[in-house]
């Protein structure tokens, strides 16, 4: 049976792609962010995931406003990146896992999440940057992915509760997958930031801390915030936290935070990286 080993959540700011291309990881500006990945690399080397289910938001590469799904699940053999118009290098293609994709799609629709299914799908920096951060060196990534896109662009957006429940449904689907694979969950984006309007540059350190503190042990506590509240507290683009909520929801066992890094600013954003470990009941008994 498939096993959910844990989750990684990380900021996906486009300029990280540029910093990687220009080898700036040790520059004073970038170091506090990149060094937060030393533990992630250690954890991934130890845990050896086969597949990553990635909750992310497309910023106008694959989806435009003509047809914009609230939730979309990739079911492709391969996911390509393309020019996004803001000058970051095009990333290498990432291998998909259509078997697990369709298993998740079937389970989600049976569970009344009426998602959009995508057999041909480009992935933007919101997927490629976290991948490059987790597995640096521009080598072929050692995992296959199932990308799950959440609309954070055009309101109305799905609620925090809905995204937590989407994640839970994905988690149950993975647990019922008969293949013996190790699956990790990724949530990308955030934390607080606002790019647009006279409030551009808004960052809320206290609220970010509250979110990270609640995420592991009581994610339900965060569902009391409406999307409007979230924009107010975390900034207009801070709503990318929806991807973190879905990631957390997919961790169905006993969850422990084993790593956290938080640094202001990277670009206009409060940058954060966390690693959450997931232990099933059987594993806890054995331990």
């Amino acid at each position: 049976m498939a096993r959910i080993i844990g989750g990684v959540a990380t900021t996906h700011v486009p300029s990280i792609g540029k910093a990687i291309a220009e080898n700036k990881q040790n520059d004073p500006y970038w170091k506090p962010f990149f060094q937060g990945f030393d533990y992630v690399h250690y954890w991934l080397a130890r845990e050896k995931p086969d597949i990553a289910v990635v909750f992310y938001n497309d910023h106008g590469l694959n989806f435009f406003l003509d047809k914009l799904p609230t939730f979309a699940v990739g079911a492709a053999k391969e996911y390509r990146n393309e020019d996004e118009g803001w000058g970051i290098p095009v990333a290498r293609a990432i291998e998909g896992d259509p078997d697990l994709s369709w298993h998740i799609i079937n389970a989600l629709v049976a569970d009344e999440f009426d998602i959009t299914m995508c057999q041909d799908m480009l992935v933007d920096h919101s997927v490629t940057i976290p991948m490059a951060l987790m597995w640096p060196g521009n080598k072929r990534h050692p995992v296959r992915i199932v990308p799950v896109s959440i609309n954070t662009v055009q309101h109305p957006l799905p609620s925090l509760k809905r995204c937590l429940n989407l994640g839970r449904s994905v988690g149950r689907a993975i647990e019922s997958y008969p293949q013996d694979v190790r699956v990790m969950i990724v949530g990308t984006g955030g934390l607080s930031h606002q790019l647009d309007g006279k409030r551009a540059g808004f960052i809320n350190k206290e609220f970010d801390k509250l979110c990270m503190d609640k995420l592991t042990g009581e994610p339900e506590a965060l569902t009391r915030y409406s999307i409007h509240d979230w924009v107010e507290q975390a900034g207009a683009q801070g709503v990318e936290f929806l991807n973190w909520m879905a990631m957390r929801g997919a961790l169905t066992g006993q969850v422990t935070e084993v790593h956290r890094n938080y640094h202001i600013p990277i670009s206009n954003t409060a940058a954060a990286t966390v690693v959450l470990e997931n232990r099933t009941k059987a594993e806890r008994k054995a331990a």
Binding site: G60, L65, D66, V153, L195, K198, I264, N268
Partner: protein, 112 residues
């Protein structure tokens, strides 16, 4: 009715309708060929996408607040800004009426 958040325009159905042509044009800037075509003949390019007068003026003025007012969504506007090599600190500074260094200092101060 919820109170508006100061300095923030929610990109909702009203904005999405208002800004459709503008955002569609900015979406086209994913392609290098289209970015070059815009630079070659800006008027013709804007006409092709059917921008209204306000949107055309905001594009001409390279003014982000005006572009948002005209229905632009920041993720698409960032592709427009990318044509001129401007990043989100540059457009942040423009929108808040400070220099780029002042804007960066404000971001750094939020971490202390």
């Amino acid at each position: 009715m919820k109170q508006d958040i100061p300095g923030t325009v929610m990109f909702d159905g009203d904005q999405a309708q208002k800004g459709y042509a503008l955002n569609r044009m900015c979406f086209s800037f994913n392609s290098a060929e289209n970015r070059a075509a815009f630079l070659k003949d800006e008027d013709a390019y804007c006409r092709k996408f059917g921008l209204n007068e306000k949107q055309r003026a905001a594009i001409k003025n390279r003014n982000v607040l005006e572009l948002i007012e005209a229905g632009g969504n920041v993720y698409y506007l960032a592709k427009f800004a990318g044509i001129f090599g401007l990043n989100v600190q540059d457009i942040g500074a423009q929108q808040t009426g400070v220099t780029v260094d002042e804007f960066k200092a404000k971001l750094a101060a939020a971490g202390r």
